[in-house]
């Protein structure tokens, strides 16, 4: 079992952000293309959790998934930025 402190800290902080999202879900849901944005964050959080888990079991699988989630999360964030920042009406509702 190989656990890295920085990876655990990232996962815990990410969980903290998740709690913030749950507490303010009604407001967060009203953000433009919120599903894309939140999906991006959920995948990033999953990647952080997988980073911790890969040190415990299924190291190679979880490592692969971690990198894959980072990449997909990043693509989703790019899509969100394009959707929202290039459409004033969309952002201002």
């Amino acid at each position: 079992m190989i656990l890295h402190e920085n990876e655990i800290v990232m996962a815990i902080l990410g969980m903290g952000t998740l709690i913030f999202i749950f507490l303010n879900y009604h407001q967060v849901k009203r953000l433009p293309s919120s599903l894309t944005l939140l999906s991006s964050f959920y995948l990033l959080l999953a990647a952080w959790l997988l980073t911790v888990l890969e040190g415990i079991f299924w190291g190679e699988v979880f490592n692969f998934l971690e990198h894959l989630f980072y990449a997909v999360s990043s693509v989703l964030l790019l899509v969100w930025c394009y959707q929202t920042l290039h459409s004033k009406d969309r952002f201002l509702g």
């Binding site: 980072y70 790019l78 201002l92």
Partner: protein, 616 residues
């Protein structure tokens, strides 16, 4: 490993592209600058993190681990910052929209609305209220409400508002009618209210002042009240007219008897008889009674007079010359008579009556205190758009006679009764109460109007509006008609026995051969049987079944050239028109005196002769 490298490369490329995209969008106005900066840093951190991962996977440089750890720790926190910033921006935007919406309602409503603190200082005021008085917002906000422009015209209202603020701050609702000085210089009437505004705990936090403009409503109410008063007056005068007409009918019949028999008795009396004086007194009293009926008919506008074009200016001057001699020394007479006043279609006696009644009233009003009587006469012209003093006058030219005095004035509580017949505030013996009633009756009959403006203790101003005529020849004196006696064969028709008897006696005394009939059918049968026996027929208009005018038409169908005189209780244009259309020779108003009968007969004979000559 190549697969992971490829995936990391995609991660790196996507995050780099997103970072560049956000950088390129920095100049935009949305989201807010703060959130755009947060977003730039988030994407920068993600880009750096992806670069570290890619470098690690590609074993380019493994010494970036510590840097990767730091950036990695920042990432979740920065996500939280970005999400918080964006949600706050949405909340702020909602708040702005809501505020804009309510401010629009607040400013666009027709109602004047303001917010005050508990001390009465103005916190907020809407645009409608500002525009109503032409005030500037910056000059009003923060000032005590009672010292603002809305109350600057009245100290009483300022005090009232100050008291209202105190009451409302203790939880009461205050509402009353008030006024504001309008920007145009007039007054705006408002239904004003002041209410407390409470927070969730029931604590009063501020006061809300509201004003609803009721100026138009108030104006309409005043107008409606005026119209109601006018309508009541019209109904009252109509009722008086109907009553007078009814009384005149019976009264005239009685007077016919009295005058007829008195004249007969006087004519048949032996020289030196001691009843001559008594009979003269009876005739004089009956004649006075006849004049009284005439006055009553004038009030009820049933008195028919011949109207000719006359100059009110010359009549006014003439009456003033006469009045000046009888005025007391304490009364000063000021007058301004426009000699170019247009002529009016009127009866000169009635115009004299109007001037004398108004001047006499003015003199009486100043009898004790003295003062100034001012008389003016001038032309006025009213167009369609002019406010004609609330009267029903038609647009056009008028001659206005104005009689003003500085006397005791008229008390407001008797103002609506001054034109009533027999209403007087003068001491017994000083006035009959018929003067203004007669003025009102005469001028109403002419299609004019009389207005009055008075303040108790200061004086009264009467204005009489005569409809002017454009061109006219002044009236000349009529020819004197000499009475002539002719022996005639008369058919007299009336349903009332006493009138019939008097009429027969009078006519017989004049030398006429008289046949009397009590019903229309009897009269018709008589003429039918002997159509050429009669020279003149006298018919009473008011008879049961076939009335006088109808009977005349039937007589003409038997003998078209027979002169018919229709006897009516009161003159009216309807009778004149009916008489003209049916060929009736003359219309006589009862009671008819002996001399009037002789004159009528003479006129009828002349007319008939002219008619015959024309036919021959």
């Amino acid at each position: 490993m190549i697969l992971i490298e490829s995936i990391d490369a995609l991660f790196l490329a996507a995050s780099g592209a997103a970072f560049l995209l956000v950088l390129q969008s920095l100049h935009r106005g949305y989201p807010t600058l703060k959130n755009r900066i947060l977003l730039v840093f988030l994407l920068l951190f993600i880009f750096i993190y992806s670069a570290c991962l890619f470098a690690e996977a590609a074993i380019i440089n493994t010494s970036m681990d510590e840097f990767e750890d730091i950036v990695g720790a920042l990432l979740p926190m920065w996500w939280a910052f970005v999400l918080y910033g964006l949600t706050q921006e949405i909340a702020n935007r909602d708040l702005e929209n809501s505020e804009r919406k309510f401010r629009t309602i607040f400013n666009q409503t027709f109602q004047y609305t303001g917010l005050l603190d508990l001390n009465g200082n103005l916190l907020e005021i809407n645009t409608t209220a500002m525009e109503a008085v032409g005030a500037k917002r910056s000059e009003m906000i923060g000032r005590p409400f009672w010292q603002t422009a809305w109350w600057s015209h009245s100290r009483r209202l300022q005090k009232k508002i100050k008291n209202a603020v105190g009451k409302t701050a203790s939880g009461k609702i205050v509402r009353f009618e008030a006024s504001h000085p309008a920007a145009a210089g007039s007054l705006l009437y408002v239904d004003f209210s002041l209410k407390p505004v409470m927070d969730r705990n029931g604590e009063i936090t501020m006061l809300i002042a509201e004003g609803r403009d009721i100026t138009e409503w108030k104006r309409a109410t005043v107008e409606k009240e005026k119209l109601e008063i006018q309508l009541r007056q019209v109904h009252k005068m109509e009722a008086i007219g109907t009553l007078t007409g009814g009384i005149a009918h019976d009264f005239n019949n009685i007077l016919s008897l009295i005058l007829g028999y008195a004249e007969m008795a006087k004519d048949g009396e032996q020289p030196g008889a001691n009843t001559s004086q008594e009979l003269s007194k009876i005739i004089a009293a009956a004649t006075r009674a006849k004049d009284l009926v005439r006055q009553m008919l004038t009030v009820s506008r049933q008195m028919k007079v011949e109207r000719v074009p006359i100059s009110v200016a010359s009549m006014t001057t003439e009456v003033l010359t006469m009045l000046r001699t009888s005025m007391s020394a304490g009364i000063q007479l000021v007058y301004d008579i426009d000699p170019d006043c247009k002529p009016v279609l009127a009866d000169s006696t009635q115009v004299r009556q109007i001037i004398i009644h108004l001047c006499t009233n003015a003199i009486h009003a100043m009898e004790e205190s003295g003062g100034t009587m001012e008389i003016t006469l001038q032309n006025v012209f009213w167009g369609e758009a002019d406010n004609r003093l609330g009267t029903n006058l038609e647009p056009g030219a008028y001659v206005v006679l104005r009689v003003s005095d500085t006397g005791c004035g008229i008390s407001p509580h008797v103002m609506d009764r001054i034109f009533d017949p027999y209403f007087t505030t003068k001491e017994p013996g000083k006035g009959t109460g018929m003067g203004l009633a007669i003025v009102h009756g005469i001028i109403g009959d002419y299609g004019g109007a009389v207005t009055v403006d008075s303040e108790e203790g200061k004086g009264t101003d009467f204005a009489v509006y005569f409809p002017a005529i454009k061109q006219a020849k002044m009236a000349a004196g009529g020819p004197d008609k000499a009475l002539i006696f002719e022996k005639e064969r008369i058919l007299l028709v009336d349903d009332e026995e006493p009138v019939l008897k008097t009429g027969r006696d009078v006519l017989e005394q004049m030398g006429c051969q008289v046949t009397v009939r009590r019903t229309s059918l009897d009269a018709l049968a008589t003429i039918h049987n002997n159509p050429d026996v009669f020279d003149i027929v006298f018919l009473d208009q008011s008879m049961p079944g076939i009335d006088g005018a109808d009977l005349a038409r039937r007589i003409f169908s038997i003998r078209p050239d027979l002169p018919v005189v229709l006897c009516v209780d009161s003159p009216s244009s309807d009778h004149e028109e009916a008489a003209k259309s049916s060929g009736i020779a003359a219309v006589a108003v009862k009671p008819i005196t002996q001399s009037a009968i002789a004159e009528l007969m003479q006129d009828v004979r002349i007319t008939s002769g002219e008619e015959l000559d024309r036919l021959n």
